[in-house]
């Protein structure tokens, strides 16, 4: 079992309902493939430094999960097909950090 960190950028055009639907779908894909979600962070709507697929803004979300390589494979397979996912990045980490990162939204702004 490895611990992975996964970050993805979702399209700006999504309404809050669809946004939640995709995030729930990502979590169910991980859990279906014997993965366990350790931590979820919402970075909110951020400006992209350079345009991706002609979008200038995107919703960032960050997930830490433990599992095997098949969970990563199935997750990336879904994200490559889905048009609303602009970018994603997955890599191995040694441990899950206890504190939230600087990019994470504070509870007041949510």
């Amino acid at each position: 079992m490895n611990i992975y960190e996964h970050t993805c950028i979702l399209s700006q055009n999504l309404n809050p309902k669809d946004l939640k639907e995709i995030r729930v779908k990502i979590e169910t894909i991980i859990e279906k493939n014997q993965g366990k979600i350790e931590k979820v962070e919402d970075w909110g709507l951020r400006n992209l430094v350079y345009p991706i697929k002609k979008f200038k803004k995107g919703y960032y979300s960050n997930i830490f999960f433990s599992g095997s390589g098949t969970a990563v494979f199935e997750l990336e397979k879904f994200e490559r097909i889905d048009e609303n996912v602009l970018r994603f990045l997955t890599f191995k980490v040694k441990e899950v950090p206890k504190e939230n990162s600087e990019l994470c939204l504070k509870e007041e702004n949510k």
């Binding site: 350079y50 991706i52 970018r87 600087e102 990019l103």
Partner: protein, 76 residues
């Protein structure tokens, strides 16, 4: 005089190693921005005096941040 070695050797320590050094992570954009040039290139360690192992770590974190559009590839 021209070819004489300077009497005092100028030496700087690595700003990223040591006890109270900041953690290099792709989420820490403010730190990474100090180590890229105006055009978005990674600065060489002979200018920033970062140690060899930390420079390797730094460059891989900057490349992760570039993929996620947190830092620019180029900036004209």
């Amino acid at each position: 005089m021209l070819f004489q070695k300077p009497a005092i050797k100028f030496k700087r320590e690595c700003p990223l190693s040591g006890k109270n050094a900041p953690i290099i992570n792709y989420k820490n954009i403010k730190l990474l921005q100090k180590y890229i040039s105006e055009t978005g290139k990674i600065l060489p360690s002979r200018i920033t005096s970062v140690s060899y192992s930390k420079q390797k770590e730094l460059s891989s974190e900057i490349k992760k941040a570039r993929i996620l559009a947190l830092l620019p590839f180029t900036n004209n």
